[in-house]
Every structure is written in structure tokens, then in C-alpha cells.
Amino acid sequence: MKRKVLVIGWDAADWKAIDPLMDQGLMPNLERLVNSGVRGRMATLDPPLSPMLWTSIATGKRPYKHGILGFTELAPDGKTVRPVTNAHRKVKAIWNILTQEGAKTHVLGWWPSHPAEPINGIMVSNFYQRASRPMSEPWPMMPGTVHPPELREHFAKLRIHPAELTAAHIAPFVPDFAKVNQDKEKALENLARILADCSTVQAAATWVLEEQPWDLMCVYFDAIDHFAHGFMKFNPPRRPHIPEREYELFKGVMTAGYRYHDLMLGRLLELAGEDATVMLISDHGFHPDHLRPLALPKEPAGPAREHSPFGIFCLKGPGIKKDALIHGAGLLDVTPTLLALFGLPVARDMDGRPLMDVFEERPVPKVIDSWENEEGECGMHPRNAAAEAFSEMDREALQQLVELGYIDDPGPEPEKASIKTVRENRYYLAKAYLDGGKREEGIAELRELFKEAPDQARYGRELVGALLRSAQLAEARTAYDHLLAECEKEHERLRAEELAKEDGKDKGTFTVAPGLRVLGSSVLMAEGRHQEALAVIEQLVLLPRFADPLQAQLARTLGAMGRWPRALDAYRNALRHDPQDVHAHHGAGVAAMRTGDLGVATEHLHDALALRFDLPYVHYHLGECYFQLKEYERALQAFTVCLRIEPGIERARRKVAEIQQLLGLPETEGTGIPQTPTIPEEEIITVVSGLPRSGTSMMMQALVAGGAVPFTDDQRPADASNPNGYFEHAAVKGMAKDARFLALARGKTIKVVAPLLPFLPPRFRYRIVFMERDMHEVLGSQDTMLGRKSSRGPKNAFRVGLHDAYTKQLAAVDRWEKANPNAEVVRVSYAHVIADPADEMARVQVALGGKLDVAAMARAVEPALYRTKA
């Protein structure tokens, strides 16, 4: 059967707002859709800005691939700013792919879709609905708004001017509208404009559905987002800072807005027909509850702070499960899922995947490398043509973005505005890189931005955060100190301004913003200054405003210190504040597991997966829980899912093998676990580690003899303790502060003592040969060495304090190993190496990829050097 698919976009729709309305029977059409299909949350991307998100939805690709990077862009003159168009979209959208496949495809109002593309169907751009002049004046339509152009006049007549609306339209939103002083307040005017805009799109969409043949129809409504930015603050319950009068006037707007969308949905469902496949989605959510921010930052895109990270996803149609929940959907999955629905191949260069769980019978999706290389007329604008076709800036659309707070008013100096736009879009690009795991690209962009505009604190904040995540501690510290200095400079300026005022009072020194202090605590944590970090957070959580929002940060800090019971309490507090905080659920699961409460741990980990199914480490930890509970089949399932999502997690692969052995099952084949991705040898860093005097130099020497390339500066000469040399590199000692040199160690073998292992940045892959030696021998050997070096040194005295310190270090290495799937660790017994070098070296050789010369490695071991014995 030929499938017809209707995709409806409701910008900012959120189940947190919808579910209470459905429970009261106020959204019957959506309820019908939900009951006849699947529903789930849809995870958004960062930054959560709608033009970028809706383009990712339509292409299955992240912003750095599709090229749409913000609300505004430069006009072709390179000097003026205009609302974003599709001119810079570099890849095919779903409507281009279907056009290429001969399907009848219509697109209405998608953001951004101007100028309309010449697809096989109708496209009405997102500049269609906006009335820019009073009703008494002509209402021209911008060139390029409608494809095919002959339908232009027809669609022009379907537009509704806000001034056409009457009290009958406004009263359901604001029953006491007569009490609003319209000379002073713009609320009703804004409301009428939003309502007229979305009703215009509805009029156009219903005409197309009734009068035109269609295979795919995509229609986008921005009204919920616009209602929410204007009126969500008045949604019940009233918060103390909201004036009672405004609250009473506007408290019903959001409910009315959702109910109106339900009415429109009912009509679209009716026209689409029972056999149609219908997908209803939003690009992000919008907090309707206590998570509504009290104030918004005065920066571009500041209002996006009101967005919540989960949008909605609904799908019904032939072959789709009924009344079912799906987990882990993300907006990058929409286009791959649409392709699967049409039986078309999914492309490997897309960042999402088809949501196979929606199907009653899972199809086997076809796969191609890319749709970009597939020949055929796809209805995209020729390169550059789109940019030139739209040369007139739509000031009205620009003004709307200003009013919504998404962009600053360009003002009378267009060139300044254009510099800002370019910079802002680079910032969003950097955030998109970081969100997509491209840390180095994101950091590179942020470095430049912070250098160019150090007064923009958010550039610095984002840079410090990214540097911390990639373990570039020295630079993170420098950037943070710089950021702090810039903020102090700004405080001084503000203070001077205040004093210069006629009645200005000295308000004293400004304090560092709490957000910056939290970031500072993260820097301290990364530097291993746990107590100082904890002190900062503990001080901040005493302030009522931060008591709840900082619980997750407090929990992370406590967890890193191994204080698991307190960490668990803090995670629980964080979840009381935001039950949808997936990372808090994950953290609580890990904390509960570490405290031995496996039941609670599995509960939290399942809660995390119900929110986001695509997080491999949540599955991994769930597997760990079940393994400890001896529920091996469930553990196997969790580790298997973990590997399906992220095949590179070696530890999960080893657990699978262990369980298969325990259960007497055949090996991985047929379980659907992808093969380990082949990582080129030249990308892997081989690390020889262990406590000092545990045989690390001996192992280095053996590996080098076997053909490994050492990463060493040869600065430390051989001596009596290590007559064959130390094979060290001085940079390793400073690794806690700066680990950038490790990029040069890829494909080579480096010695890193055990206490420094936790400072290996997660962005590299490691094979670690960890030397284990009897602690008495280690300490004895160290004493011998120190005794030889200094006559004042202690000799052969067993030191309890050092023994305890080393034991703690080894425990820290164990913790680090458990938390770092990018490292494969092979533990080697020093005693076995001495006793049977050939056997032990054969094992090491296999663990390191099988390319070294075992005989040469074994020959390099000199048992004569085994001088300190327990």
C-alpha cells in the first residue's frame, strides 16, 4: 500500500503542559492520536534554537552539516542582517529526497523555508503569514513565498490579518480582555497576531489537503512557542514575582493556545483520512512549571532558557504500534524514520537513525552512503541562487525576532549588527560542534570568539566548560582566570557608572556571579582540589535561590570524592527539583550502586532510560547492576544495547563475553552487537603504568625491543636502579595541568605512573599495560633506590603511611578504569614476567594488537634485575 504521511510541527509543545490538559479531556484530538499510535519524548539538540532545530528535523543532520546557524544571517550585500532563509542550507531536506523519488510533497510554513523551493508539490515559505501593515493598506506578498508561483494569488487570499479577528476569537484566551488597556499594553495585539498567523497556516494546509494529491505533507506551526514566550509566565500557579492583575488576565492563554491547536489538529486528522500516517512533533519543550526561569539573561537567544530539553513525538498509521510508548527519540531521527516509512534508504551521513520501535513489524531499512550524491531533480535551489533571490530584508520578520528577544535590535548601524550576527552564528556553530561530540572544532571556534570579544562572558563560560570536558586543564584554568578578570573589569565599569550618576550611591564591590563560581568549582574539581570545590558549592546551596538547582552539581562533586551516600541524597534532591533530569537519574543510579543498594540503582537507571534511551553508559551501568544481582540475562541485554549504541565500549564487550561464558552461550555472533569499530593503530596510545618501581621501565624496554615506538625525551639517563633507561617523557609530569602533548603520542608507547592515569584525557583511545607488584617489594625497591640516591634517605623501612597512600591510588585507578571505556587495561604481574617472560609477553602482545615480536620482548626481560624480593 502506498503510504501518505502528514508531518505536523508544533514548535515548543511539551508533554508537561499537554498531559494535564489531556487528563482533563481538553485535548480530545491529540488523545485520539496518542491512543491510536505511539508517543514519546523527543530530545532536542544544543543550542535549542528553532531554525537550526527544524532544519535538523528536516535533514537528519546536525547544524554543522546543514549550515543553518541562527535566527539571522547576512544579506548578499554582506553588510545588512536579515531573518534566516534557506539560502545557506547545504544539504537535501526530506522534501527534496521525496521530490527526487517522484513523490508529491508539500511544505507549509517550515522554518526556514524562504524562498520557496521548486519541489514536486507546493511550498509556502515561513514569510507567508506575517501581516506587516495595517489592514487598510495593501498586503503584498514577498517574492518567492509560494511555489508554484501561479498559486500565489490563491494563497494570498487565505491569509488572515490580525485586525480581522474579533472579540469572539480573543475571549477564549483572555476572558476579561476589556480590562486590558490596549493603548499601553501590547499583549492582546501580540496574541491576535500569533492567532492570525497560525490560522493562516491552517487555512493553507487544509486547502492543500483537500484539493491536492499528496504523499508527504509537512506543516509547521510556531504559535505554541510564541504564546509561551509571551504568556507562560502567567500560567498557574502564580509565582510571587508575577503581578496579580496580569496573572488574572492572562492565566488562561496557554491552555487556550493548546486547545486551539487541538482543534486544528482534529481538522487536519479528518482531512488526512484514517489511512494516513500522521507524525506530530516539536523541536523542544517549554517549561510550564517551577522550572520556569525567574529572569532571562540579557544576551541574544536568552529566551531559549525557557525551553525544556524534551519535545513531543507522536506517530500513528498503518503498521505502527498502537497505544505504545517509545523511548529515546531525538529530532535527528525524524527524517531517517520518514525515509523508513516510505521504504527509502537511510543515509549513513545522517546523524539520526530510524525509530524502529514504532513499527509493529520492524522493517529492515536500506542504507546508502548519502542522498547528496544521488542524481535527480530534487527541487533545491541552485547554489547561490537562493541568496540572491531574496535581497529585500523583511524588517517585520526581523522586528518580530527582536520582540521575542531572540536577537538584539540591529539599530541604525547595520554593519555593527552584521558583525554581531556573524559572531553569534559562529557561537551557535561552536555549541553545535560540542553537542555533536566534535570538541576540538568547538573549542577552536570558542577560543577565537573569546579572543575577539572577551566581554562576552558566555563565550568564555562555554570555552572553559568545553576545555574541562576534554581534560585540557591548564587552558581551562587560564581561560577561567581571564573570564573572572573580565567580569571584575565589567563590575568596576558598572560601579564607576553608578558613582558618576547624580545621586549614584556606591553599592560596594560586586560579587562574582554564582554561575561563574559554579564553573570555578568545576575547574577546582578537575584540578583535584575536591575540598575547595565542595566548599564553593556547599556555600552556594545555602542560598535559597540555588539550593535546588545546584543539587546535581553538589552530587557530582561528592561522587567524584567517593562520598556516595551523600551524593545519592543530593541526586535525590536534584530529582525532586526536576524529575526529568536524566543525568541526575543516571548519577543517582551509579551512586546507589556504589552504596550497594542495587534495587534503587536499577530503578533510577530505568528512569533515566525512560527519558533518554540513547545513552550508552546508562545501559552499561544498568548491566553492571544486574551483573552484581546475578541477573545475568538482563545484564547481557543491557550490555548488548549499550554496545549497539556505542560499539566502542570495550568494557561492555568484555562483560558480554564473561556472561556468555557463565551462561554457556555461544559468542557474540547473532546477538546483534556490532563488531568493534576498527581504530587505526596510529590513533591508539599505548601506556605503560603502575606504581613507581613496579616494573614499568622493564615493560617499556620489553615493548621497545618488540618493535613499539617509545614516546620519550631521553632526558632521564640510565642509572643503577634502571641500568637500561627510564623511557620517560618530562611532559608527563605536567599532565594534570596540560595534556595536549598526548596528541603527539598517538601510535606510540608512553610511560605514565599510576597516580597520573586519571588525567589521561578521554578524547584519546588507550591500551594500558598496568604493572602489578607486591606492595612490600614496591616500597622496598623505592627505598633501595632512594637510599642509593641520598645518604639521608630511609633504608628498608616499611612505611605504613606510604602503603596506605599507594593502596588508595590503586583504588583510584580502579575507579578510573571503571568510568573510562576509552581505555583497555591489561594487568601484568611483575612476578610472572620474571618467572615466565615468554608466556606473559605473549599475553601482552595479544592485548596490544598482536604485532609485536614476543621473543624479542621476552629476551629484554632481565631476571637479574629482580633484586628486591618480598
Binding site: L158, I160, E164, T166, A167, H169, P172, S199, Y260, G266
Partner: protein, 60 residues
Amino acid sequence: MALNKSTDGPGQFRAADGSQFEVTADGSLSLLALGYRGLMAWRAKRIEVADLKGKAPKKQ
């Protein structure tokens, strides 16, 4: 609000169950939600009412 696709003339819709659906000059959210048919019916009704009053509203 299941309405069929046809109108019985300006100001009226026939619902799926055969009952008549009145269109008023003031309009309503239900009419707007119906899309272009609701819009056209509402505009036609406004013209009809304005004609009766001897004053036609501005056409879109």
C-alpha cells in the same frame, strides 16, 4: 467538531451527524480551526451581514 467538506451556503456548515453548524459574523475559533472552508464561510457571512446593513467589509 467533525464537519464535512461541503457548506450549505454562507453561514452554515453541515456536521457529520447531519446537524447544522451556524456561522456568525463575529466568527469563532472553531471556524478558524476548520481552515480555509471555515475562513471562507466566515468571510461570506460577514459580507452578507454587512450587505444587510448596507456596508460591506473590506475584502481580503
